[in-house]
């Protein structure tokens, strides 16, 4: 009997030990991730008073539905989607083009690889300042070249979002290039050789063998790129501050202005939940696809 009790005690200790080891990490996560995350949901249920100092009022789900149906939110969501559509496909396409160019057995091709991937080492602030200067109506290169619309590019309702998108594409190009290069290197050489022997020209080989082999990489880049696009803040803050006329007011920037300028944490909390949900869906999509990729293993 005592033998059995001892064995039970031993089993209990063996099971508890791993959890004990997880506790410190769990504590940090609880304070800095789980608590703010849950608190945000709570904030979304309370309406912030019009004047500071008054108590916030519990309004339940009414604030959520009000914010999500507001034209400001719909505009911001649309701007964000448009921004993702402008940046993600173009970024992947350019990254792939550069990767294909650099995927040659040529002397000195390493220099090109370094140059193509160098924007990874550039911060958002630097990229924004560089492009802000290029497009500046006073000192910019583009106006000097004769491209000088009125109003100026970054204050132009039609051109501001594409201009910020261009900055973002440039900044993310290094990452896109590195992802596509890695993908290209993983395409088995014997598949391309088999296609060659099977009579396929270089164009057919690229479209029917290389691109399908790259599809997991392309999908990964698309999801990661979309998540990045939905979390864009720095470029907007430095180049356009959401303007002109909210034409570049992406979700994250909208959240920050609601929180800081309008002092409206309830409203900002609802926007955060919306952004979280979109990112969650994108992430789940990515996970599901990564599982499917197993079938690609030969």
């Amino acid at each position: 009997m005592s033998d059995r009790a001892r064995r039970l005690g031993h089993t209990a200790r063996r099971l508890a030990f791993p959890y004990a080891l997880l506790l410190p990490a769990l504590a940090i996560f609880a304070v800095f991730v789980f608590f703010p995350f849950l608190k945000n949901f709570q904030l979304a249920l309370y309406k912030t008073p019009p004047f500071p100092g008054l108590p916030s009022k519990y309004v339940g789900f009414s604030q959520i539905s009000k914010v999500l149906t507001s034209s400001d939110f719909r505009n911001s969501l649309w701007v964000t989607i448009l921004f993702a559509l402008l940046t993600v496909p173009a970024g992947i396409f350019l990254g792939l083009v550069l990767a294909v160019l650099a995927h040659q057995k040529l002397r000195g091709v390493g220099i090109y690889r370094t140059i193509f991937s160098s924007t990874v080492a550039t911060s958002v602030a630097v990229a924004s300042v560089v492009f802000g200067t290029l497009m500046s109506p006073q000192v910019g290169l583009l106006p000097w070249l004769g491209i000088n619309p009125s109003p100026a590019i970054l204050s132009n309702p039609t051109l501001a979002l594409p201009a910020v998108a261009l900055t973002t594409i440039w900044q993310n190009l290094g990452l896109s290039f590195i992802l596509m290069s890695a993908g290209l290197q993983a395409v088995p050489e014997d598949l391309l050789e088999a296609a060659q022997v099977d009579g396929a020209g270089s164009w057919t080989r690229f479209w029917r063998v290389t691109v399908p082999s790259l599809s997991p990489t392309i999908f990964f880049a698309a999801v990661i790129g979309s998540i990045y696009a939905f979390q864009t803040f720095g470029q907007i803050d430095l180049l356009t501050q959401g303007g002109p006329d909210n034409k570049t007011n992406v979700l994250t920037y909208f959240i920050v202005t609601q929180l800081h300028q309008n002092q409206n944490p309830g409203y900002a909390a609802v926007l955060s939940i919306a952004l979280f949900s979109i990112t969650l869906v994108l992430t789940l999509l990515q996970l599901r696809f990564l599982e499917r990729r197993v079938h690609y293993a030969r």
């Binding site: 014997d190 598949l191 050789e193 296609a195 060659q196 022997v197 099977d198 399908p212 690609y296 293993a297």
Partner: protein, 362 residues
């Protein structure tokens, strides 16, 4: 079908000579095996025929056409890769269809050809599966079907059986031979497995360090190896090779080394005299040695290995050289440490020049 002709082919990778001045022809409807140890250049030769490598020197012809400067896609050959190289994102059917599609064969004809090729290989019911859902043997069949779906001038096969388990390998070997006969195909087949080479090849070309050693029928290569390398490479267990000296006297010409005094046949003796060979290598296959009460070779048994149907007696000569004797399983083997005498069978002796390694009697 057509022949494949290589003329004075050399391939250098930087400072490494992978293939050196190779001239070789696979005749029309012949199954020619390129055999050699890994790194001997046999795969490079195959890749040059395919157009995947460009020779540094020399000419490649397929059929009556000089294809040295022709791209792989325009060479009209089919290749089976060691890895099978199936397109993982396409079904088996689409894989088989790929060479037809790439060559713009009309759709109706393609469907029929794919079906035929699949039926020949017994994979008609697997066409909708992707390579990841197939077993190794099934993938191999898909790869073969993709090769035979067209009627190219020649088939190139790069160790196509090496990824199969032993049992499947033996079975597929026979099927490949049967396919080759039915299609009357010209096949260049690369392998490092001498059993595959012996059983499948009409002729075998043996390569070592990029140099062609011998081309002949399997039986001829086995019975009259051109040099010491071929002698040792073909046969399991390998041919015994003893180094020693050749001496001529009034009684005839003998090969001598401590404990060994083997009289050479008259024809060999004449060739030795003509070539002036003194330092020599005597080759004798394990099955061409007989245990006897007295004999020209004296050895001490160091190990007896039993394989059931036969035994390998490993003996050591007085000067430390070892040799293997093959005896039937029902013959009582000698004891370890026992002194034995061995007699070579008539016609079982091969003599090579020790300096060049070449066979002395032509």
């Amino acid at each position: 079908m057509g022949r494949v002709l290589l003329e004075h082919i050399t391939k250098r990778f930087d400072d490494v000579v992978a293939v050196n001045d190779l001239t070789l022809e696979a005749h029309d409807e012949e199954l020619l095996v390129l055999l050699g140890p890994s790194g001997c250049g046999k795969s490079t030769v195959l890749r040059m025929i395919a157009g995947l490598e460009h020779p540094t020197d020399g000419r490649v012809s397929i059929g009556d056409r000089d294809v040295t400067e022709v791209e792989a896609k325009d060479r009209d050959i089919a290749m089976v890769f060691q890895s099978y190289a199936l397109y993982p994102h396409m079904t088996a059917g689409k894989n088989i269809d790929f060479p037809l599609r790439a060559r713009h064969v009309p759709a109706a004809e393609r469907t029929q050809l794919v079906e035929q090729a699949a039926n020949v290989l017994g994979i008609g019911d697997l066409l909708d599966r992707k390579p990841g859902q197939l077993s190794g043997g099934q993938r191999q069949r898909v790869a073969l079907a993709r090769a035979i779906v067209r009627r190219p001038e020649a088939f190139l096969m790069d160790e196509p059986l090496s990824n199969l388990d032993a049992k499947l390998r033996v079975q597929t070997r026979a099927e490949l031979v049967d396919l080759q006969r039915r299609f009357q195909a010209t096949v260049v087949y690369v392998t490092h497995d001498q059993v595959e080479a012996m059983t499948m090849g009409h002729r075998i070309a043996i390569l070592d360090q990029g140099v062609l050693q011998q081309v002949d029928t399997p039986q001829a290569v086995y019975e009259r190896p051109a040099n010491v390398f071929v002698a040792r490479f073909i046969g399991t267990p390998p041919m015994n090779t003893l180094t020693g000296r050749v001496t001529a006297s009034a009684d005839g010409t003998t090969f001598e080394t401590p404990g060994v005094q083997v009289p050479l046949p008259v024809t060999t003796a004449a060739a030795v005299a003509a070539a002036g060979v003194v330092e020599a290598v005597l080759g004798v296959r394990p099955e061409d040695l007989r245990l006897s009460a007295t004999g020209p070779i004296a050895a001490k048994v160091i190990l007896v290995e039993s394989l059931g149907h036969e035994r390998h007696v490993i003996g050591r000569l007085d000067d430390g050289q070892t040799l293997i004797v093959r005896i039937p399983g029902d013959v009582a083997p000698p004891e370890d440490g026992e002194q034995i005498a061995l007699t070579p069978t008539s016609g079982g002796l091969h003599l090579f020049d020790a300096a060049s390694g070449q066979r002395v009697d032509g």
